[in-house]
Symmetry: C2
Subunit: 345 residues, 2 copies
């Protein structure tokens, strides 16, 4: 049995979407056991809509809910909230395997660091998004927003975390890792990225491809693209904005004349497949990597399908031993020896 | 008569595209006079293909050509190259108004700084790209790659440069300026962006909108988005990559079945309009702002139409007195007084 906690109150459509997604995941994977944290009455009202295996689902009543506007450091103190209660259970109960939440990203990162804790040796967890690419698969993009300020050693660790996930999550054997920079030549970038480039060429256990540019995240050769969290956030949102604009312009143009409306009827299926391939959320949420147990961040506007995908993703990376792989890679890489960094935060 | 220099040897398709674009611009604007710098024989061979007003075009023979792989600082020393010769003429001849080049961006920036020179008080020129947005107009994005390392005062100057261009180039009366950051709240960002936010709220003469995210460059409210050159390069290339992927997936899906192929026939015009609206190059090249005269950077893969657009753009910003506007805004803003910076580089 794989026990997954779902923060039932996290996200814009909670608890409707979270409960529907959890029930759907339970139905399609008989090995799952789901714990829903949230206001019991609200969660039960939603659960009444569905048939499910009651032996594999429980509710933990939490009177408090973290809001998107709450300060992350303040949020961490609210033990009775659905998100922080979930973190405390994840920390204290050995049989609880992973957490899924569509709630505030900032609070989820803070709770991960301050309650659950990092894998020994990891300086900062990274928020990692699977980005649809031109090969029809996903590029893991790390860090896409958890750490606005980075040191090169953190970028080195993101490379290790990303490699471990590309193996455990995507099943890629020897994942290629690129460094997001302002050009592909080896001397490119500000001092941070120049230093990170040198470090990445020296780390054991990763397959370093070299510098890549923004366009390569979606078009390129790499399985993992490593970035500082500031540029990572900028790149992620730029890609989303651009894809949204293109799809928006397309929609407008396709309804602009009778001829194009007729054309649309013939192309509906093709356009639907296209939207599915470009769905940033299809891969089942972003990952908060570097913590002692898997934490999956589902999009704030997640629909039931996205929540279910996130639950399956959490179960899958637990099954594939992600945390163990990270620990192994980390000890083999021996980053501190390379960087001369003895600061064991 | 408006004299524009075109670097005839710059870009992947030179001198074929540059000559064709220059001739086309000459035809549609009778006030133009064009100077082509480049290998006389090559340029003349291209010119033979067209009819044009010979009194308004001259060739300046330059035996040397700067390559995309040449180091910018070395390139600047090559006075006999088509690009640097153009810069020397722009600097020394009062009646030469502006420069258009599709050559190496790095060399163009270096030449601009070291040969032509900056507007008094401007610390660094910014590379500014007009980005198609959801309003069907363009957002000016500055800096998108000239300065990988920035100080907050530089971001303040980019805001002034961008505002001046939005007026002179786009005709926007009181352009809204956003700061690209990793979130919209005022406290967001690393120290550079936090400091830049505070500075932007205090500068006279700009209409500061606040922080914006990557998606807002294409979807948002602002006429100008200011960025450090590192994130700017990442954002620009991420947007291009994303748009390219979406259009690529669309093309594939539209030819995937008989039904979608039939649909395509009905929608050709709509799809053509869509591609035109999303053309990153339509606005006539990127601008190198902050120099003593207008310099327009056309895309390396520019076709004749893009070169012609760049020439028209250069003529238009010269006519609208861009450099004068920048100087006026700069003196009104009195940035040095705000920042306490007395370093008059």
């Amino acid at each position: 049995m794989i026990k997954i906690i779902v923060d039932a109150m996290g996200g814009d459509n909670a608890p409707r979407s979270t409960v529907a997604g959890a029930v759907s995941a339970l139905e399609s994977d008989k090995q799952l056991y789901i714990i829903l944290t949230g206001r019991r009455n609200d969660v039960e009202a939603e659960l009444k809509k569905y048939k499910f295996d009651e032996k594999r689902l429980e509710i933990v009543d939490c009177p408090d809910v973290i809001d998107m506007n709450d300060s992350p450091t303040e949020a961490v103190k609210r033990k009775e909230s659905s998100m922080m209660q979930a973190y405390w259970m994840l920390k204290k109960q050995d049989d609880v395997c992973a957490l899924v939440s569509a709630g505030s990203t900032g609070a989820l990162i803070a709770g991960g660091q301050l309650i659950l804790g990092r894998i020994r040796g990891i300086k900062r967890p990274a928020l990692c998004s699977p980005i649809p690419n031109s090969r029809g698969t996903f590029t893991l993009f790390a860090d896409c927003g958890a750490n606005a300020e980075c040191k090169s050693v953190m970028l080195g660790q993101f490379a290790l975390l990303g490699s471990a996930y590309a193996k455990a999550g995507f099943g890629v054997e020897n994942p290629k890792v690129g460094l997001l920079n302002n050009g592909t030549e080896s001397h490119k970038g500000d001092p941070l990225h120049q230093e990170a480039y040198k470090l990445l060429t020296r780390i054991n256990g990763i397959n370093f491809y070299g510098n890549v540019e923004g366009r390569d995240i979606m078009l390129g050769e790499c399985d993992v693209v490593v970035s500082d969290g500031f540029s990572g956030n900028v790149a992620l949102k730029s890609m989303e904005g651009s894809a949204k604009l293109v799809l928006g312009v397309m929609k407008k143009e396709l309804s602009s004349s009778l001829s194009s409306k007729i054309g649309y009827l013939f192309m509906r299926k093709a356009l639907k497949r296209m939207r599915a391939q470009l769905d940033f959320d299809k891969a089942g949420g972003a990952l908060l990597l570097g913590l002692k147990k898997p934490v999956v961040k589902s999009h704030g506007s997640s629909k039931p399908e996205s929540i279910a995908n996130s639950v399956h993703n959490a179960a899958s990376i637990y099954r594939n031993g992600l945390v163990g792989s990270v620990e192994k890679l980390l000890s083999e890489a021996d980053l501190d020896a390379i960087t001369g960094d003895t600061d064991e935060r």
